[in-house]
Symmetry: C2
Subunit: 543 residues, 2 copies
Amino acid sequence: MIRASIRASSRVSSRLLACKNCYVPVSQRITSALVSGSAVNNNIRFYSDKPQPKLTVENYPNIKRLESFKKLGKEDLDYFKTILSQQEILEANENEDLAFYNEDWMRKYRGQSKLVLRPKTTEQVSKILKYCNEQNLAVVPQGGNTGLVGGSVPVFDEIVLSLTQLNKIREFDEVSGILKCDAGVILEAADMFLAERGYIFPMDLGAKGSCHVGGIVATNAGGLRLLRYGSLHGTVLGLEVVLPNGEIVNSMNALRKDNTGYDLKQLFIGSEGTIGVVTGVSILCPIRPNAFNVSFLGVESYEAVQKVFVQAKKELGEILSAFEFMDLKSQNLTKIHLADMDHPLADDHPFYILIETSGSKKEHDDAKLEAFLESAMEDGLVVDGVVAQDETELKNLWQWREMIPESSQAGGGVYKYDVSLPLKDLYSLVDAANARLEEHGLLSIDDESKPVISAVGYGHVGDGNLHLNVAVRRYTKEVEKCLEPFVYEFVSSKNGSISAEHGLGFQKKNYIGYSKSEQEIKMIKQLKNLYDSNTILNPYKYV
Amino acid sequence: MIRASIRASSRVSSRLLACKNCYVPVSQRITSALVSGSAVNNNIRFYSDKPQPKLTVENYPNIKRLESFKKLGKEDLDYFKTILSQQEILEANENEDLAFYNEDWMRKYRGQSKLVLRPKTTEQVSKILKYCNEQNLAVVPQGGNTGLVGGSVPVFDEIVLSLTQLNKIREFDEVSGILKCDAGVILEAADMFLAERGYIFPMDLGAKGSCHVGGIVATNAGGLRLLRYGSLHGTVLGLEVVLPNGEIVNSMNALRKDNTGYDLKQLFIGSEGTIGVVTGVSILCPIRPNAFNVSFLGVESYEAVQKVFVQAKKELGEILSAFEFMDLKSQNLTKIHLADMDHPLADDHPFYILIETSGSKKEHDDAKLEAFLESAMEDGLVVDGVVAQDETELKNLWQWREMIPESSQAGGGVYKYDVSLPLKDLYSLVDAANARLEEHGLLSIDDESKPVISAVGYGHVGDGNLHLNVAVRRYTKEVEKCLEPFVYEFVSSKNGSISAEHGLGFQKKNYIGYSKSEQEIKMIKQLKNLYDSNTILNPYKYV
């Protein structure tokens, strides 16, 4: 019988601020206050254990500040003081280096902005942008600053336009489930607000305690509920956006259907703050499921993973809410890291699967899951498995998926790739990367002289989203050159995407050509030029 | 006990080619052959019972042909003959008036095109458009020509670019459920192809036997499965589009996630052929449910309709696939029309609800539905109801919803409005329209001297989509002036949309201002100008 209990472990006690696909370890982090009055106190924010990064311009000396941008002057500050209160303006001075706003979450990038503006209204955002556009002052829109590609921090001296204080829930319709809120509402706050009313925000990710609703829309974040509720392109019903010239585009309607004209809002979903600043979001929220199940399974091949996925879609149908896979290498690293915990399955298997269901009736979900697992085992597709019996076990099972990123970098460091690939090719990248690293004599699980420990693969099968983590003992140019552009070329050859959900930002700006055709890049540039001809919005990034 | 059987009726025997929200009665219609070799024979197509319409230019004498467009010459035909075979070119001559391509489905509009091009490849489409753009020849892209707003037929002498012969399924991934096909594949053919593989097309509508996959994408059709599977903006993963200048934009990837650059394909979803011609579609298809239930309920108020909707979302959760409401007036008209059938409920009720569930396990769905209905009746929300016991009963229950459009026009004619409104305001338009018609002395259910019989309301509560049908004995200017722009102004005052799913086309081009702000219209025109500066694509329409 596959039903077995999982031991709870005290080992995994620290709070995880993790995107389930991209774990971001943070020793201490102050979650800003929820919904209202959530002014982040930049004196008490703590970062990851990493040391303060070098300035981005030091790491990337080839990138030059655009000469066309004006340098901030006293007259500019004087203007901003006419439209914003003192509390809405933060200037760099001897006591204040604005590090909170200049550095990204991972401490990989550091800008040199001297000014942070924190408007409380859309009209203020409009006035700020209109002025900056006229004066050629570069601006970086910033939400919760939890991005992973350096998209939300300045590169040089761009003004930071923080949406933190634009943070009110505007309206919720309990019949339709349509939520309207300011861009700066924290995702967790929105979800808690909805939970009290029996609804759920249609996406979730580990940084929910810090990231903003506007930020996830601007970056088209993927996260955990995509398999179930689809992408933000489907769930976002309307946006309020301020264009670089200060014009406000208001499509904050509460309609599921509106077939009058091009769907303009779609352009801003995933535009990463390069053509407009999202200030308001209208989104359709589903009823909160009240039953959750998690099962952890062992299978013998990647082909079996795919077969189990098809079977799960058929038998679990409408209640399937996550289908994650992990290879043995990823679990071996995690076993070292979670040394005090027993792995859910006693024996090794080439691949593991985590299945989550969520539905409206527990006994029905249990019956479906049990029937599915029995048939999958009878068919020989699944060779071993467990089902969580309570909330604690459910969380513990998720640990073996969630702790892979931290485990991957525990040996010294990690090269991370977040890619989309057609499902049949999803795992081939991991095999190819391992083969290549071996071929170059860089890989050994126990020979300390080799830089690479292991290249492991895991991800959201349901979304075709693979995470390739190359665990290393140390960062070396040799490893980097072995992996890049190899990984991007491989993904491109399979018509995949070099960024499944993290976006382009600063990090991947130059690699867009691996995912998009020349024609598409031309059109992307046309749109950038159409809306932001002075390129004041989030320069040096995206495209 | 609410479970009761519904008598099957022989009265409703004719095949319904109906969009469930907008029924289009057609006495005979030849569905073109499926998937391949589906060249529509324009000599055997039959239309609605209505007489051939006047030319659009006769009905709308104020609209003038754009002088900038070249008139078709022999040299143009000569060119087309170099890139297309004889079978791919249809010229008007004494035996061929091209009526199939010049007239819309409803026989409301009639153009005067002398040339229809029916390419078989994307490259041919590209060459055609490049040439037309260079020569300033106006073009109307045409799919199955089942639109309801005159968007797919010429107004003057535009060349018709029919996608009928671009009709191959390109690829299907049985693991991910991603279908790639040509634009000209008929929706029903795509769905049948998917059904054989256990999948379902994520949208459905009555015209499925004729409409094209490319056409539903280009018009962002809504249809029946929106409540369950969401809009095409979420399910379409990639498009192949030919721009007016002949450039091919290929984003036909098979990825659920791709965060590299603006999501260009979204612009073409719902663009109604005004900025590009969709030639290929990549779409995510869900597993086909194998259990369906339909229930028909009587409630006492519109407030109760809303409460039952919330309750249904909570208790039926993931299996709820349709939630339709109808007012008593609509059922009274339908009773006259379906005189040989007994209404599902013996007594009159101010409002009726049709609920459909679809899921992966019949017994679970039955149990959920039964529990929901019992609690809704105990709470006094639902006062009477029936559940279909078999496929025939299920179809019969749907009749009382589907036959409303035909019943509405059976007395002489009907003014139809397809609008989106915030849910709480959804029905208020029907009350307002009735009050206004009464006030103007135009309305009487039995006084034959009054032009209006009844203004009835029904629609997709789940989508906030109301259909207001004003049943009339005869069309009069007085009624039209009483209703327009009144209806549009009312919808606009509630921040609704004047076109929920039918689009703008020719019919609503001039009314976009009721749903979109000046700022949005400006941006829509900017995009039109960006991609089609010569305005050769689908002129006189949309914006």
